[in-house]
């Protein structure tokens, strides 16, 4: 039981607990907080794997910007706790068992021990920020410029959608 395995299990348990809490919480703000816990746990897992830049970007962008957007919208719309209507029985009877079956199938499909690609040394040596940025700006420069267009379109779309009439 190496320390890394212990840390992995702690963070994995935290992530799964956050995801289960997302399902069972009635108020969307509690679901949002559970999702933030999941994201921070995943950032910890990225750090454990040696992907330090991705971990930092996950917290800064996902946890610090996207989830803040969710929390703002929940506060603005004054979302209340969910009500349970009769229509959700269908989801309970058919959806949840099918969802659990899908999870079990996926997990079983990938749980076979990998052949030779097990644990190739310390990946932190491979993943300094410099190498990632060189890859982005040399091999992946075309998708990078496309994402800048995507963000521009998204900003314009969000402004158009959320602006009130007559402005």
């Amino acid at each position: 039981m190496t320390p890394q395995l212990v840390i992995f299990f702690v963070l994995a348990a935290l992530a799964v607990a956050g995801a289960i809490s997302l399902i069972f919480q009635r108020h969307p703000i509690h679901s949002a907080l559970s999702l933030i816990v999941v994201m921070v746990a995943l950032a910890g897992l990225y750090l454990l794997m040696g992907a330090e830049f991705v971990a930092a970007v996950q917290i800064i962008v996902y946890g610090g910007a996207i989830m803040v957007l969710f929390v703002f919208v929940i506060m603005l719309l004054n979302a209340g706790a969910e009500e349970r209507t009769s229509f959700s029985k269908l989801a309970g009877f058919a959806g949840v068992p099918l969802g659990m079956a899908l999870t079990a199938f996926l997990a079983a499909a990938v749980a076979r021990p990998a052949g030779a690609a097990q644990a190739p040394g310390n990946a932190a040596v491979l993943a300094p920020t410099r190498t990632i940025s060189e890859m982005i700006f040399k091999d992946f420069v075309y998708p990078f410029e496309l994402t800048s267009f995507l963000i521009l379109v998204a900003i314009m779309g969000a402004i158009v959608l959320a602006a009130r009439k007559g402005e």
């Binding site: 703000i29 509690h30 330090e52 930092a56 800064i60 946890g63 803040v68 929390v71 703002f72 300094p128």
Partner: protein
């Protein structure tokens, strides 16, 4: 003994954490005293000067008040989030101090190297960790405002968190110039990159090539920490008290400590990024400047003794000379032992620069009026963000030209 040796790293880290927490909380407390004194002097009045000699026990009195005051929970609040918000704010601002290096060389203690920072000095993303924590600290404010189940805190919380999110962009972009010059996110490497020409002293720091970056960074950081002139969402005369209206004694104290700790973190970051961190402003060949800490401390200690002997109350006449003696002996010890002298240079300059920045923060509090909210938001988006981006572009062009278009 072998148990201690086997788990030495863990124990050293735990002791460092406890020590840092103790020091930071004490510095916070006396920072409030300092702020009240300085702002009072700027307004031609005494500050706190009754509770203890020169008001030095005022923070203790405030702390006791916060502990013993009634702590009501308003009706209809969301319990979990209401209790979580100040906890989150405090935990995040205290965590951000873990990555700050206070000095380059480790202490040698019984065969173990003790570095002057909680995280090891080879943390390659030190600066990104600080930005990540800044990004998460928006939640403390937003959730506090929302969970209070009341109009004014909700408005104050939303405004304050919108302000923090807006200025976060300018904050991170204004630092990119420094990163381009230092080629690393590691805070120690950034300081080492400013020490490339030790003979230049103060002229080798990042402030000269990155003056615009520094101004953008400092402005954005003041807005991030919700201090004057950007403190409209929490000012007393505006939205009642903003997002912490419904918070009483101890939870309000947690917000308070979180704000002052983030002030300290921002000051540390300013010195590391732009003012050379622990580097001395004098050229490295002027080794006589190594006695500067003693030259400052010994006269200060003697002045404290002298003014204490003639103080009004008996308590002051006992405490102040004792304090002065301790300070003077510390200064003497720094001068006499050469090992201590060379070790203490780096932390001394670091702490002196942090102190200067804290004074600038308090100075701004005493002098500047506050922005209106729409002025604040248009300043952040329409002026600060384009200037930061322009700084990045100009810096990268200059670096490219210097390396000959390779």
């Amino acid at each position: 003994m072998t148990f201690l040796n086997a788990h030495a790293e863990l124990l050293i880290t735990l002791v460092k954490i406890a020590l840092l927490l103790f020091i930071v909380l004490t510095v916070n407390a006396y920072l409030t005293w300092f702020e009240r004194k300085v702002v009072a002097r700027m307004q031609s009045r005494w500050g706190p000067h009754r509770v203890g000699p020169y008001g030095l026990l005022q923070p203790a009195a405030d702390g006791l008040k916060f502990l013993f005051k009634e702590d009501p929970t308003p009706e209809g609040v969301d319990r979990v989030v209401y209790y979580l918000a100040p906890l989150l704010a405090l935990a995040l601002s205290l965590t951000s101090l873990a990555v700050i290096p206070f000095g380059p060389e480790p202490l040698r203690f019984f065969g173990h190297d003790i570095y002057l920072s909680i995280t090891p000095p080879d943390l390659n993303i030190g600066l990104l960790v600080l930005f990540a924590i800044t990004a998460l600290s928006v939640y403390g404010v937003a959730l506090a405002g929302w969970s209070s189940n009341s109009k004014y805190p909700l408005l104050g919380g939303l405004r304050s968190s919108a302000q923090m999110v807006s200025y976060e962009l300018a904050l991170t972009l204004s630092v990119v110039g420094v990163l381009l010059m230092a080629n690393s996110f590691n805070l120690k490497d950034i300081i080492v990159a400013q020490a490339q020409h030790p003979e230049r002293g103060i002229f080798g720091w990042n402030i000269w090539p990155q003056i615009i970056g520094f101004l953008c960074f400092f402005t954005a950081a003041v807005a991030e920490t919700n201090r004057v002139p950007f403190d409209l969402p929490e000012a007393e005369s505006e939205l009642v008290a903003g997002f912490h209206t419904e918070y009483a004694s101890f939870k309000f104290a947690m917000f308070f400590i979180a704000e002052y700790t983030s002030m300290i973190t921002v000051s540390c970051l300013c010195t590391i990024l732009f003012f050379g961190g622990w580097l001395s402003p004098f050229p490295a060949s002027w080794t006589f400047t190594h006695y500067l800490p003693s030259v400052i401390l010994i006269p200060f200690g003697l002045w404290v003794i002298w003014s204490g002997i003639r103080y009004e109350t008996i308590f002051g006449r006992v405490i102040l000379p004792g304090l002065g003696t301790v300070i003077a002996l510390l200064g003497l010890a720094l001068a006499v032992f050469p090992g201590v002298n060379s070790f203490i240079q780096a932390p001394f300059w670091f702490l002196a620069k942090v102190f200067v920045f804290l004074f600038v923060y308090v100075w701004m509090r005493g002098t500047l009026p506050r922005f209106r909210y729409d002025q604040l938001m248009s300043f952040g988006w329409k002026l600060l963000l384009p200037v930061s981006i322009a700084n990045v572009v100009v810096t990268s062009f200059v670096i490219l030209l210097r390396s000959g278009w390779k």
